[in-house]
């Protein structure tokens, strides 16, 4: 597996699994989050110290239609990635004590932390606006989940955050419909419209 994929997909997969882990496996989720966040930080260092690299994964091919996951490193994304992964590790370490053994929804908390780490890496490495948006939404959802772990009254705060950050998502559907109709009308060719890379 390409080194650029690991900090993106490993935390996302493990984080997703942790969300559904039974409550009695709190220690497992703690240990897994610490290991994964440590690993992603090490990978962040490796990516930062390495040269510029790119990864192209063909997700969908239907005739002429291609949808590729493009991951790429730039000088800007590499340094931001290094610090984002570093913050992930520090907060995981801090949470080992601040989120006590008697806290509720521990697995959900650690799962959302990993989703945040993976989503952030995805945003920083993605060279495709559609995938950037998908990772952007993953981080927004994980913010919602994390705020709801705050207990009483946190649901209101989480909903407000989710509504405000995700407000532009409503415009997304409008944008799709608007430009779908326009491009389809202009081209008269559905294949050209769907071909996301030109």
């Amino acid at each position: 597996m390409n080194i650029l994929c690991i900090p993106v997909f490993l935390p996302l997969i493990v984080g997703f699994v942790l969300l559904f882990l039974p409550n009695k496996l709190k220690s497992t989720s703690r240990a897994l989050t610490l290991i994964i966040s440590g690993l992603t930080f090490i990978l962040g260092i490796r990516i930062f110290t390495g040269g510029e690299s790119a990864y192209n994964w063909l997700i969908l091919q239907l005739g002429d239609v291609n949808l590729d996951l493009l991951l790429i490193t730039t000088s800007l994304s590499k340094f931001v990635l290094l610090f984002a992964m570093g913050f992930g590790l520090l907060i995981t370490l801090y949470s080992l004590k601040s989120v006590g053994p008697n806290a509720k929804r521990v697995n959900e908390y650690y799962g959302a932390i990993l989703l945040t780490i993976g989503g952030s890496a995805g945003i920083l490495l993605s060279n495709h606006l559609l995938f950037l948006l998908i990772f952007w939404e993953i981080v927004t959802v994980s913010l919602y989940l994390l705020i709801t772990t705050g207990g009483k009254n946190s649901n209101f705060a989480a909903t407000k955050s989710f509504a405000m950050i995700g407000a532009s998502d409503a415009a997304f559907m409008l944008g799709v419909c608007r430009f779908y109709a326009r491009r389809l009308y202009d081209m008269g060719n559905f294949g050209d419209f769907c071909n996301l890379r030109y």
Binding site: F83, Y94, K97, S98, V99, S154, A157
Partner: protein, 445 residues
Amino acid sequence: MLGVFMIWAISGTFVISDISLETTSALPIIAFLLLMTAAITKAGALPLHTWLPTSGEYAPASVMALLPAAIDKLLGIYLLVIIVKEIFILNSPALSTILAVIGAATVIIAVMIAMVQHNLKKLLSYHAISQVGYMVLGIATGTPVGIAGGVFHMLNHAIYKCCLFLCGGAVEQAAGTPELDRLGGLGKKMPITFVTCLIAALSISGIPPFNGFVSKWMVYQGVIQMNPAQTGTAANLWPIWLTCAMFGSALTLASFVKLIHSMFLSRLPDELKDVKEVSPAMTIPMIVLASLCVFFGVFYHVPLKLFIYPALNTPETSIFGTWHSGLATILIIIGIGLGVLIWLVAKLSRNVRTVPTWTCGEVQTNEAMRIPGTHFYKTVSRMGGLKQLYTGQEKGYFDPYDQGGRCGLGLTGFLRWLHSGVLPMYLTWVTLGLLIIIFIVCEIR
């Protein structure tokens, strides 16, 4: 997202590195504004900032430290830099002015609100908003030093604000409350938290030699160097942006004087006598972050050369006049050392008897003699103009979420009124609708 699809419609690609759009016509400008809205909402700039203090009040401190303080800032400003430098060519003076106005307004308004907050995490949240203003302002300048300053401030802010939230979380866990008027005197009980919080507070206030000073200094330079040919009106208004930025920094210091006093320096409340320092798992991240605040300030060339200049392809020589951080640090240390020496000499040479406070014919209790920091800026909150601002802010008049909710309620009320369940009323609406359709169709033909 609409902005993304607009970009696709204009450029014909979703691949970021293949896009380079001039901001000279309406569609790219609208797309720019939409993407900018997404970026600054994530980062927490005005006017879409209100989710941040609400979250700060209820979310765990570790969550606030990870997302709104660190990662959301990194991602939001990262996206803004990508928009400004890669996806678009920012050659519209109007857009630069919009960015500068957002930046300057965010700095001042958020810090004014932060000053009068009584909840530790809510206060920190408003400062997290205020600091975004410096980043946006730096990027709005369009100058290499300003953009580099904005990006460096993004990094510095993530470091010290994360540290501040972690310190706040440690205090909340140890004392059992984030309310400033119930805290005090924890400096001796929680020395590591106190020192790390103090360093982070001085950093965010732009006090040399810490990292916040360097990046703010770069933003100030960027504002002064704004070029009218590139940024138009925004460049001519540079004294306003500079005043807002510098005044905002002074108010930040004032706000953190209150915070540090309230948490660590005032009299210890009776119920906090048994408070102890938090465990190493919690103090280690705070120490790491506070150390970075010092290192990135004193040896600012290291992060600039290692991270910022390569990230922005900025020539090193185009940045900075003269700032000898090493010499300044030595002088500051000597000054502090002399102060401590004078204090020690005075303490040892005096023979002082400490007694309980006696006034009005009786000995006062510890609680009666406490002066919480929350009293510091009560005068400010009662000043004409500001009083209305604070009242309006508390009632949610400036909150797009609250206002949107009120509009939604009004709309549902109207729809409920329309759907009265009376058949003749529905028939009236149907007839009216048909008449309107006939009128429109006839007009078109």
